[in-house]
């Protein structure tokens, strides 16, 4: 005859006759994970690479239960594997620091992988417009941004970002401004706004009063687009050549402020767009970099497969 034998310890105030496992601190009726060991592994995903793998040996001779935690070096993000969805990082216009992580086991090892599904790894610098930005416009003055034409008068805009963390020697492959549309004039998706994009050719351009007299970069790009579809949209501006001209100035240092002009062209329609501080506009910069992911795996003696 089978006996109901064993050892059971319940929580304080709960009868030992309970059958609810949540009330039990310990019961020989239920197994618990048996700790085998902790293993660590750090993987570095460098610029120009799209994946890196590594392993550690657990030496159990069968596939064990395990659980892995990790931390990403550049932003301190801690995670547990599996991630769901299985990625960490920015999911922006370039998605260049978007990485996936995974671990798995066989009878000998725990394996680790860090990879990017969008080409080679780059660091993605995000300049938050809400805290790092200055606006100026010939229409509203300091604190406002507007570019385009209102009646017969062309309106120019300028924007400044502080704390730009890029050194003189880093190779920047993308610089995109995303200008928030807080107000606009003209017919959406029909009327054209045309302007010239310049950088402010200074090492560490100062806070805006009226920056219109500041020197412009040689680098200039023309832009022609229709009035945004609706308020809340973003207007994208490629400022790569202007950015790199400022970045390579002899006096440029990482952490300096950088500014840009948008100078209206006479040939546009009676249309404009703009915004006011505090701003939702932002700047993204793509540059070489690396990320280190440090894994810690707890391996249990519990077998899941031979």
């Amino acid at each position: 005859m089978a006996k109901d034998w064993g050892l059971k310890i319940t929580k304080s105030g709960v009868a030992t006759t309970t059958t609810d496992p949540r009330d039990m601190l310990f019961s020989t009726k239920y197994q618990m994970f048996k700790y085998h060991g902790e293993y660590t592994k750090s993987l570095v995903l460098n610029s120009g690479s799209s994946s890196v793998t590594g392993s550690v040996a657990h030496n159990l001779g069968y596939v064990p239960a395990f659980i892995t935690y990790g931390v990403r070096s550049d932003n301190g993000a801690n995670f547990i594997v599996p991630l769901c969805p299985p990625h960490i990082g920015m999911e922006g216009i370039n998605a260049c620091d978007f990485i996936t992580v995974d671990t798995w086991a066989d009878i000998n090892n725990i394996y680790y992988e860090v990879k990017t599904p969008f080409g080679t790894y780059h660091e993605y610098v995000y300049q938050d417009g809400y805290t790092d930005i200055d606006y100026w416009s010939s229409y509203g003055g300091e604190g406002y941004f507007r570019v385009g034409r209102i009646g017969s008068s062309g309106k120019n805009g300028a924007v400044r970002f502080t704390g730009v963390e890029v050194s003189r020697t880093e190779s920047v492959s993308a610089c995109d401004l995303s200008m928030f549309v807080g107000f606009m004039t003209g017919t959406s998706d029909v009327d054209h706004i045309k302007w010239r994009n310049y950088g402010i050719d200074e090492d560490n351009t100062s806070a805006f009063g009226d920056p219109s007299g500041r020197p412009k970069t040689t680098a200039m790009t023309l832009q022609d687009r229709t009035v945004p579809h609706q308020l809340g949209d973003y207007v994208g501006i490629n400022m790569l050549s202007q950015f790199n001209e400022i970045r390579t100035r002899n006096g440029w240092s990482s952490g300096n402020a950088m500014g840009f002009f948008m100078q209206e062209l006479d040939a546009d329609d009676n249309a404009s767009f703009g915004d006011a501080e505090p701003a939702y506009s932002y700047m993204t910069i793509k540059k070489p970099g690396s990320v280190t992911v440090s894994f810690r795996t707890i391996v249990f003696k519990d077998k899941i497969h031979d």
Binding site: P21, R22, F26, Q31, W104, I304, H305
Partner: protein, 132 residues
């Protein structure tokens, strides 16, 4: 109220330690993870299709669970969760409408990332602790 319970310290650690990591077991840990159900299974998934797996636990509470899956059959490589769709095998759907646990069932959907039928192996643990 007395200081009651059972504790077993690691080799070389004093039983009077107050550091939780020093113990192999202690009833002071509220709660120790208890494995209520553990089991293995296989799931057959048609090429480019999916199959839902339903495990009945009937615990009347939502338990903590763990699922391992051999994404490429017979590869010997086992993934916890297995949500990433890369590789020539199967993966587990990360949509919470198809992969979830409730007070009665542990359910998950397995997709086949290839054009040929796959028979994938899985292993799961269901613990006697509430997930919510």
């Amino acid at each position: 109220m007395g200081d009651w319970g059972v504790k077993v310290s690691k080799d070389g650690k004093d039983i009077s330690s107050t550091t939780p990591e020093d113990f192999v077991f202690s009833t002071k840990n509220d709660t120790n993870v208890k494995i209520v159900i553990k089991n293995s299974g296989t799931v057959t998934v048609a090429g480019s299709g999916y199959t839902d797996v339903t495990i009945t636990h009937s615990l009347n509470f939502i338990p903590v669970t763990m699922l391992y899956i051999e994404k490429v059959p017979s590869s010997g490589l086992w993934f916890l969760g297995g949500f990433q769709a890369d590789g020539a095998g199967v993966y587990v759907d990360d949509d919470t409408s198809t992969t979830y646990v409730d007070a009665t069932y542990f359910k998950f959907r397995v997709y086949n990332n290839t054009s040929s039928q796959k028979v994938a192996s899985y292993y799961y643990f269901i613990f006697g602790d509430s997930a919510s």
